[in-house]
């Protein structure tokens, strides 16, 4: 098999995941997109492992680790998303702007955010 096939697959998958991370607003969907990117990396690892015939099988071992870590990550990530949802009543990434410079967020949207935050804080 030509090495290019898995590599191109990996690249395209990575690109799609990237788009998802950047464009999706729901935090859970962002996490899914991250999984796509991780999988793209895994494909790469496996393909190169096979191609190089590594006696240590570093590629495959690393893929296993990545899968494991991905599972842990998704667990933690979901926990965080859940907590944010409990506090703010939203899982919209673009509404979470506590890092913003004061004054940098357009006024209309800020009002929206405070409006959303208020019931959330009541819920908390």
């Amino acid at each position: 098999m030509h090495l290019v096939y898995p590599l191109v697959l990996a690249v395209l998958l990575f690109g799609i995941g990237l788009y998802g991370v950047l464009a999706r607003r729901n935090a859970v969907l962002v996490l899914m997109s991250v999984e796509l990117m991780l999988n793209a990396v895994n494909v790469n690892l496996v393909a190169f492992d096979m191609w190089l015939r590594d006696t240590l099988h570093a590629g495959q071992a690393l893929t296993l680790f990545v899968i494991t870590i991905a599972a842990a990550e998704i667990g933690l990530g979901l926990a965080i998303v859940l907590m944010i949802f409990r506090n703010r009543a939203t899982s919209d990434v673009s509404a979470l702007r506590d890092l913003a410079e004061p004054g940098a967020v357009p006024r209309a949207r800020r009002r929206l955010r405070t409006a959303r935050t208020r019931p959330g804080s009541e819920a908390a």
């Binding site: 991370v21 990434v93 702007r97 004054g103």
Partner: protein, 640 residues
Amino acid sequence: MTTAAALATGLPFLAAVLGLAFGRRFPAAARALATLPLAASVLLTWAVAVRHDSGGVTEHGTELTPTGALDITLSMRVDGLSAIVAALVATVALLVQVYSAAYMRKDPRYSSYAALISLFSAAMLLVVYTGDLIVLLVGWEVMGVCSYFLIGHYWETEVARAAAVKAFLVTKLGDVPFLIGVLVLGVGAGSFRIGAIVDGVPPGGAGWATAGTLLMLGGVAGKSAQVPLQTWLPDAMTGPTPVSALIHAATMVAAGAYVVARLYPVFLASDATLVVLAVMAALTMVSSALFAFAQDDLKRVLAWSTVSQLAYMTGGLAAGGRDAAVFHLLTHGAFKALLFLAAGVVIHLAGTGRISDMGGLRRREPLVFWTMTAGLGALVGVPPLSGFFSKEAVLGAAEHTAIDGGAGAPPAVTGWLVIVAGVLTAGLTAAYATRLWLRVFFGEARKPAPEPHGPTPVLMLWPLAVLTVPTVLLGVIGLNESWLPAWLGDADGRAYGSADAANGLLLQAPAYYDLAPRLGTSLAAVALLALGAGAVYALWRRDPAADPARVLGRLRGPAERGFDVDRLYDAVVVRPVWLAARATRFVDRVVIDGYVHAAAQGTWLAGGGVRRSQNGNVQVYLAGVLAGFVVLAVTVAVRA
């Protein structure tokens, strides 16, 4: 001899420093401090003058600024001219100090006043004695600043404050070209020493000499209140009267003429300068005599008269009569100081300075009446008095230039200008002097005299008596060629009547050293004198209560205001300067500081712009990071 000259200069200076530093603490010592050093100076200057045997120059100096190419030396250069003028200055200064001791006896600021007069005397003596133009400039400006402080002695009044600033600024404006002229002469001759400059002028003149002397005329006009910088002197009369007598009549204002006389060979080699000087003198002479006629304030009459008489000196210099001009400087110094000091007593008696409020004062203080009459006579040029001889000497020199001319003589046009203006002015002078005399001393008092302050202090009277002597008699020294001309010598230091003179080595033709009156000009001047005085007398006889100046008609108002030159200057110089100042401040605040603030604002704005991108949306950050990474990767890949 130079030591004595230096001492004569230094003593009043020391007195001034002590007076300024400790005068307030020891007011009792102020009078002694004011008069004694100056008395010593008088003795020293007279000793210098007497010991200065006819002709020759004694000079001694020490270096002030070792800056290579051009050295400034603190030198004393004693020759006939400086010796005799110094003696005049010191004497008048001492008399004024004595007079002031009585006149200002109740003034709480007497100590600083007296110290400033001492400082002024020192500065004037420095100007007179020094042999270096830059050092002369030092004395020149120090005189100016003393004049400023003394005019502003009554700083409680707005008039005095304004007059003081005006006097200083107008003269300072003249000093700008003067300073540049000094630089031009110094660089041209390769030295600032008067001796070197005088020797350095080539016989036919030189470009630098003409340029330098023309520029120096600015300072001469400023200091001697000649057209076009004449307007400060009448205003300067707001100072105490003794100050007017010393600074604004006898000495400082004559410094302009003195400097020209001091550098005479340089001026004589520059025809253009002499013509300009003559025009200046002629204009000043006639116009200020006219202004004097229209004034109602006693001191302003005398002030304009001073301007007019100073123009006789500058005119004499322009027409080649250096010795004649110096002669007039000496006699004028005596009679004008007398007139001012007498005017001080008159104002004291009348309780006002307005002529229209005076009248009939001759009975109140006969001594003042007689001394002032002598002074006015000398001013007018009544034949046996000193002013007659000196004025005729000037006119005689002008006549020689106009008619005979000859090699080395100034252009004939200067002679004609001075003769015409001088004779005309003689008539005008007679007119205003007569008017003053009649209106102040005769007729009835037009305003009830104030309560007498008590008898006039003796210290104020005897300087008048002392000054009357030269006022009456000084003229005779011009009669014999072996007296004043021999003493003065020519500007190169060669004595008239010495062997050099016999060999024809004098700077000018012998006729210029002959100060005796000449028939033609004398007749013309005396005739106009009689005409002017007679006309005013006739007017006065017709109506003793009315002012003879009414004859001027509609001209009177403008003439009283000096033809409104002040308003012209206000419009042409003062206001534009204020406008420029405001514009500059605006530019400074808005444009130049604007750039600075704009730089700061720009930084803030850029910061604000970058800050806006920090909107808290993590996806935007991430997109930015990745986009940057892609761009970097592509750039590197393309470059590789």
